[in-house]
Assembly symmetry: C2
């Protein structure tokens, strides 16, 4: 299994659709699930994590969608990775020196001073990886995507989500007690 | 589970004991297992991978140990990680855009040009991590370890492995047909 899983990929794709919502009406997790052909409960769980990490906020009302909790320029890949995966270490040092036959269960003090040099090397690699992830923001990706996708494609996407948001709002007016479809 | 597992930690520790073998007699996987308090079959599997990756070579004779296949200055952390874990990607892009509802199963050509910008960001993070792992060698770690461990501790380790190598040699002279203990 890769260190950074599919959850991060879905989270980043979802967040991209939240960067510039039309009329300020953000998509719901259910909209995003249908649009991307993925299970709504899967995305609902992802959004719980993103909300907990302070990256998104639910819009008011049971039929409201989500919006970014801060500007896209201030949301990095690293924020999303940590929100979805937790602060998962690249390497977990098991301190295998402890079991050395010469120590007979009592590790000498000089062997526990500072970080094991193998662990230190792994931590340096992790820092380099995290620095690179921290340097990329959602805003940069959104800018790249909007250059790549033809205007027609962008409009089709925007139309689809706007229609959904309207439907949700209409639903709210007509049936107040049918629960959330967020 | 961490991206870089315990196998890499054991492999690096084992390789350190191969850097400067006394009298050129490298330890066997069985010696290393006993010394580190870990299962011999586990280390035997690790050594199969290290040998396949060209990092170690079995010394001649059924009772021979292992030695480094090239100088410790030319064995990086990255070599060991790739040998043990395989070339495991940090992130596996699942191309989730393919399932977009607007495409109706036919992804437009403009959407498949080049690497997805999310994937590109992850690849950059992976490159940064790998560059850091490639910059650290077994020789550097060995030098650090020999500064940290008191002479007495180093001698005790060296004595233990030398005694084992002697035992293996004696075993070879007296009973040629008892198979390998490598």
């Amino acid at each position: 299994m890769a260190h950074i899983g599919a959850g991060v990929e879905y989270a980043l794709h979802c967040l991209l659709y939240l960067v510039s919502p039309r009329d300020g009406a953000g998509p719901s997790a259910r909209d995003l699930a249908e649009f991307q052909g993925v299970s709504p409960s899967y995305l609902a769980k992802l959004f719980t994590k993103l909300e907990k990490a302070g990256l998104v906020r639910a819009q008011e009302g049971v039929r409201g969608g989500f919006r970014l909790a801060r500007p896209a320029e201030q949301i990095s890949f690293l924020d999303v990775v940590d929100a979805v995966e937790g602060r998962k270490p690249l390497f977990e040092c098991r301190e295998i020196r402890r079991d050395c036959i010469l120590y007979k269960g009592a590790q000498p003090s000089w062997d526990t001073i500072g970080v094991c040099s193998i662990h230190a090397g792994m931590l340096a690699a992790e820092r380099a990886m995290r620095a690179e992830l921290a340097a990329r923001t959602l805003a940069e990706i959104a800018a790249g995507v909007s250059k790549k996708i033809p205007a027609r494609g962008q409009r089709a996407t925007s139309d689809w989500f706007a229609e959904r948001a309207q439907k949700r709002r209409r639903g709210k007016r007509t049936s107040r007690n049918t629960g959330t479809d967020r």
